[in-house]
Amino acid sequence: MSSTHLSGGKVNISRIQEHARKHLFSLLDKIDGTKDIVTDGALGSVMGLVANKPMLKEHNIKSMFHLHPGTLPNSSSENTVFIIRPQLRFIDLVADNVHNEVKRSRKSKDFHIFFVPRVTFLCKKRLEDRGVLGNFEGNLKELPWHLYPFDSDLVSMEIPITFKEFHLENDPTTLHQAAQGLLMLQCLYGTIPRVTGIGPAAQKVSNFLKRLSLEQSSCQNPSSSSIAPSQIDQVILLDRSVDLLTPLATQLTYEGLIDEIFGIQNNTVKLPAEHFSSSNDSTPYTADTKDIILNSGEELFAEIRDKNFSAVGPALSKKARQTKLQFDERHGDKTVQEMKQFVARLPSMMANKQSLAYHTTIAELVKKVTDSHKFLEALQTEQELMNGIDTDKVHPFIEDCIDRKEPLIKVLRLVCMQALTNSGLRSKVLEYYKKEILQTYGFQHALTLSNLEQAGLLRLQQNQRQYTVLRKALRLTVEDNDEASPTDISYVHSVYAPLSIRLVQHLVRPNGSRALQDVIGLLPSPAFDDIQTSHSGSSLPVPPSDSPKVVLVFFIGGCTFAEISALRFLSQQEVSDANVEFVIATTKLINGNSFIESLAEPLDHY
């Protein structure tokens, strides 16, 4: 029933999927008759991570639509179920849909609305103001989905606005949701004994979590699961504002590059279909793009996703040789027995061959970009900045990019990167950049620039040289790291080791936070390290120390695939002093582009 790619890790993520499914199906099954589901766009695509179409069919779902303005698509179903997140603009669309539907058909449909993850007062009020609350009488339900299962070690809340919402608008809504997500994890896997974190958002989440577990314990029987030892030993809450640099750096892992170049949404990448029209493919493609699912369920992808791209080519050709060998076996003299074994292996071999073909094509597409002059020049600039070379003045390459009107996002990424690696820009330099950007790309980006300044991505020079100190103290730049068989996490960006992951490396050590004392003052405060007690007040049982510690790293404000790869790399290190396995949670999977875009506020957008 559950997806196989979720259950491979030390913490069985498929339980989250089951949990979410159970909620959905129990709500759906309470509705008699045939049903249509209408979801808001982003939720619709992320729903695939919980339940697929055939499963929904079993629960009497006729069709699925995305929420659009105007009228509902024609359908003969007896019920329409809106599944939306509690945002007022969705409510307005729902209200329009319902009004038009009631006008259109005499035979009245039953309307239902499921709010993900909860119904809010404002939404209810808006439904009432729009005069449709009555249409949902008794049919207003909640689907408490907080975290979506992505992989055997990865869950995400899929909320892109967390960082902006908290750091720019001072609105902790999604932090509260994150705490609820953690609470749900604790319900499934036991109360996490140690809560460590850095940054204001991390502290908020930790406080909310404390409060929520108190609320829960006051209305629940403590005799439930909480007594069993937790499957997760520690959670590290990392506020994205602690490490703004990492998401800006170009990711150089295979999966990271696919995301940088083509964009991965909900484990799926859309690629131009013409590259995939192999003769083996029996179904002729009709769409322009082909969806390829990327998760650890695919053996080959699991093997290469976290590698530096320069190591992917050799890995693929090695795999190709192996596959060829396997297929060649059939030519040898065989007994019937051996033939039988061969045939039994055939389906998996065919699947391997197929995935090899796909990834060879994808790698080619990626290579086309990474070999380009533009890409290499930008990468070189990035690496210079990381190494603190020429960060103090207007950088000629960035200037050229502006002059040639290269994509604004690329320019902003580089400018922000320079601001961060120089621990703030001199005001003359910053103003020059800003003026150039406004003159070249238009005044409508004025607020985007202020947002970036407010978020601390674009900043003026302070007295302290944080980056220089951090770079030295935490070895953020590492030369001579063998990309094919790396020894340090810096391979994910070739040269640069993500600050976030370096911090994690220290925090999982028993006295890690003490080792960080010198640098912690340079990071957004506060840093904390709490021991959570169980409901009964006694401290939680400590698991035997020889088994690997399971650490949940929760990125508040998003994390990149490169960061995930780095954590996986650390999990695999047997020689490292802390025997640790990581599980990753994030508010959203991001890259430099989507991160900057989440903060952008172009005025002509309206």
Binding site: L88, L122, K125, P172, H176, S223, Q439, F443
Partner: protein, 831 residues
């Protein structure tokens, strides 16, 4: 020893024994003369009032009153009556019910606090109640009344009273000689004796059903009747002194005997379900259902209280229990017993005396030890005397040791239960219940009784002792305690709140909200607010605080919880309730609330937003708002005005850069409008860069130049613009002219690049010589001037580059290959 233990046993018929033993002795004896006493089962409290039919000397005020005592005779409270009561009874929840003659039923708790009053019916108010009975049925406690017009009315539950009139008995013109209530499973019936006729009244029947009872004697008149607690048996007493005992449907008769008492008994009550006790002056007569009798003499008036497994006898000096000796106790202790339990008991006794015969006794029961242990455990449960309990328990413990793999659970359980029973039987608590009664009322029922008597501490100790889950045990009791506490008006609220919080702590299952609601209900609003501080669930806390009119505390609590939805909830309630200006002033103290309100207003009412930013002098935000306004499609006509407003706001905010940027944008817009007029093309909405580019594309170099000067476009970018524009237009001549204007700030590589991109190799060649030295080889190679490339590489002594060039050479450039070979040779020879 056995003799001693059976000293209070009296045999009744064959193989049946009854025993009567004292459980409480009154500290001060009180008079049973001239009073009416009412009590209820499960060792309930005693209500005592003066018998209105007796003449006594008036003492004190003389106003009628009811005194309430515990089962151990300690005074609890007294109730002053305003009107004469017809009947007094106890409900199953130990509330005292006073039925007044006008049909009002008043309910008091055991501390004499009035709880509730209801009226039976209007008819009773007019005709007056002459008799009433309180009875227990499945739905709780009911009341039946007889009016002076000889009609019966009945209420099945005093907590939700619904009066049911009963059918009239034809020809009833005097009070019936006796009547009783039989509460069957679904239906409550009244049995009425009208002299020699018996009628059964039921609410569902339109007329009474006459019943015929199988009396061996010719029936004259039933003058007294008693229904057993389980409503299955009934006892009828006739004026001839005969007692008839049978099933409550009157169909089967168990026995009928002559009591040889001519008068009606003072009281007739059941002892458990297999015996009836009748009280006459100086005599207590027990009649079993088998018809055997036993007489106890008693020196003064007594009161009998029926229990499910015994009868309690209250005399002027003590409180006793009369019960049939439980069969297991009987088996063990009766004379000539051969029960394994007895041998075990004896063995244990000998063992304690360090006597070797213990071993012999054990051998006697060897095979039956498990049974013997079970019997001893069970027997212990029936004993009130601590010594007897210990004796049986010790025996069980001793026997247990000889049986491997015996389930210890019954033993442990009995020890726990005995501990509880002994605790509640103490005269301070005075709940003299038997083990069977405890089983029937359940532990929860016992806890309720303790709570009702305000023995909170003991109740909690019992929960802990019996290891009940906190949610159904101690938490509930603590909550009850808190309910009681908040109802006490006089105490200091701060202290009460603190006391409650310190006792309750964060115990699971406690709802501070409920306690606060109770406090508010009792009129202690401030205490309620104080208590809400301790409610951990913000979703419960905040709405209640709002309902109490405490907006600011509600807002604080909502903010503490981090639940933004709750904050919005409070904010909008506040917004609706108070004048706008006050609202702004209030929320400005709470940055979180303010930012959320700003966000909300932004989506709903941006007019208000300007006011807020104005009040807060938040010019940056104000400017941003103006900017957003400026770009709204509907505002395209007033864009300049909005921009000017934004410029002013930025100036106020001392944001010089953006103020200047706004200014620049305003100038640009102005120029763009004139350009649109001039060229008839769209310029508005494009950036300065794009505007210049468009002008260059239109070959308006002069205008472009003026814009460049006006806005101080850096040379580098302008050069890029020019180069790209010329290339796009294919203006190679102009490009060359431009290249010579002055030294290029961006080098000459872009010149080569744009030509090369458009395949103008000849043009490209014009610039390649001016390319930076270190890039020259690359650029020569790029545009195919391999010879020059080779030469330059040779001059730079770059063998690597030479080889690269060589690899690029095709068959047509054989001479270049050879040339390179020479160069390479020269370079290597020089080394």
């Amino acid at each position: 020893m056995s003799v001693l233990l059976t000293a209070d046993w009296c045999s009744v018929g064959r193989d049946e024994y009854y025993r009567k033993f004292e459980i409480y002795k009154w500290e001060d004896s009180f008079s049973m003369e001239n009073v009416i006493m009412t009590s209820c089962s499960y060792g309930g409290p005693l209500a005592v009032r003066r018998d209105p039919k007796k003449l006594v000397q008036v003492q004190g005020s003389g106003k009628p009153s009811i005194a309430i005592y515990t089962a151990a005779g300690s005074f609890l409270s007294s109730i002053l009556l305003t009107k004469p009561v017809t009947e007094v009874g106890w409900s199953s929840t130990e509330d005292l019910l006073c039925i007044e003659d006008d049909g009002s039923v008043l309910r008091y708790d055991i501390f004499g606090n009035h709880q509730h009053t209801f009226s039976m019916c209007d008819e009773a108010r007019v005709t007056k109640v002459i008799e009433a009975k309180v009875f227990t049925c499945a739905g709780g406690t009911g009341v039946a009344i007889l009016t002076s017009s000889y009609r019966f009315f009945l209420v099945n539950s005093v907590t939700s009273p619904k009066t049911r009139p009963m059918p009239e008995i034809p020809g009833l013109n005097a009070p019936p000689s006796s009547w009783g209530v039989i509460a069957e499973d679904r239906q409550t019936k009244i049995l009425v004796a009208k002299e020699r006729e018996l009628h059964l009244l039921s609410h569902n029947d339109s007329r009474p059903v006459p019943v015929v009872v199988d009396f061996s004697d010719r029936l004259s008149s039933v003058v007294e009747m008693a229904v057993s607690l389980n409503n299955r048996q009934i006892a009828l007493f006739t004026d001839k002194g005969r007692l008839w005992i049978g099933s409550s449907d009157l169909r089967s008769k168990y026995c009928e005997i002559d009591t040889s008492h001519a008068f009606r008994p003072l009281q007739l009550a059941w002892c458990g379900s297999d015996g009836v006790v009748g009280v006459w002056d100086g005599t207590l007569l027990l009649v079993t259902t088998k018809g055997d009798t036993l007489t106890y003499p008693c020196d003064s008036k007594v009161h009998i209280v029926a229990e499910t497994d015994c009868a309690r006898v209250i005399t002027s000096s003590s409180h006793e229990i009369l019960q049939s000796v439980p069969s297991v106790v009987q088996k063990i202790l009766r004379i000539n017993s051969v029960d394994p339990g007895l041998y075990l008991l004896e063995a244990s006794r000998q063992f304690q005396r360090r006597n070797h015969t213990a071993d012999e006794y054990i051998r006697l029961v060897k095979d039956n030890l498990p049974l013997a242990v079970d019997n001893c455990i069970e027997a212990a449960g029936y004993e009130f005397s601590h010594d007897n309990q210990k004796m049986f328990i010790r025996a069980a413990q001793f026997g247990k040791g000889f049986v491997p793999d015996l389930d210890p659970e019954p033993y442990v359980k009995m020890c726990r239960v005995l501990r509880v029973l002994n605790a509640v039987r103490d005269h301070k608590v005075s709940l003299p219940i038997t083990n069977i009664q405890l089983k029937k009322m359940t532990i929860v029922g016992l806890l309720e009784r303790l709570v009702r008597r305000r023995h909170y501490y003991m109740a909690i100790q019992i929960c802990k002792h019996l290891k009940l889950p906190p949610a159904e045990g101690s938490s509930r009791i603590l909550a009850e305690w808190a309910f009681y506490k908040v109802a006490q008006a006089k105490q200091d609220r701060e202290q009460v709140a603190r006391e409650i919080a310190s006792k309750l702590g964060k115990a699971p299952g406690i709802s501070y909200k409920d306690i606060a609601l109770r406090a508010n209900h009792c009129g202690h609003k401030l205490l309620a607010i104080r208590l809400m501080d301790y409610e951990p669930r913000a979703r419960e806390q905040v709405p209640l605080l709002l309902d109490l009119g405490e907006e600011v505390p509600a807002l604080m609590k909502a903010m503490e919880s981090g639940d933004t939805d709750l904050i919005y909830f409070v904010l909008l309630r506040m917004h609706a309730k108070m004048p706008l200006a006050d609202f702004y002033l209030k929320i400005r103290n709470y940055p979180l609330a303010q930012s959320l309100y700003i966000k909300y207003s932004y989506e709903n009412n941006s007019k208000e937003l300007h006011d807020i930013h104005d009040q807060e002098s938040n010019y940056n935000a104000q400017a941003a708002l103006h900017l957003k306004d400026a770009y709204l499609p509907k505002n395209s006509g007033t864009r300049e005005a909005s921009l000017a407003a934004a410029r002013q706001s930025y100036k106020n905010a001392r944001n010089d850069f953006l103020a200047a940027a706004c200014d620049e944008q305003l100038r640009l817009l102005k120029i763009q409008r004139t350009l649109e007029d001039k060229f008839g093309r769209e310029f508005l909405g494009h950036s300065l860069h794009d505007t210049i580019e468009m002008l260059l594309t239109l070959k308006e170099v002069k205008v472009a130049e003026s814009l460049r000067n006006e806005f101080k476009v850096p040379d580098r970018r302008y050069w890029w613009l020019r180069i790209l524009a010329h290339a796009r237009n294919g203006e190679w001549e102009q490009l060359e002219k431009f290249s010579k204007e002055k030294r290029s700030p961006i080098g000459y590589e872009p010149f080569v690049d744009v030509c090369f991109e458009r395949n103008e190799i000849a043009e490209a060649q014009k610039y390649v010589s001016r390319v930076r030295e270190d890039l020259k080889v690359k650029y020569y190679t790029k545009i195919g001037m391999l010879k020059q490339a080779a030469q330059t590489a040779f001059e730079q002594k770059d063998t690597q580059a030479l080889r690269t060039i060589q690899s690029k050479c095709g068959s047509a450039e054989r001479d270049v290959i050879e040339q390179i070979n020479t160069y390479l040779a020269q370079l290597s020879s020089r080394k």
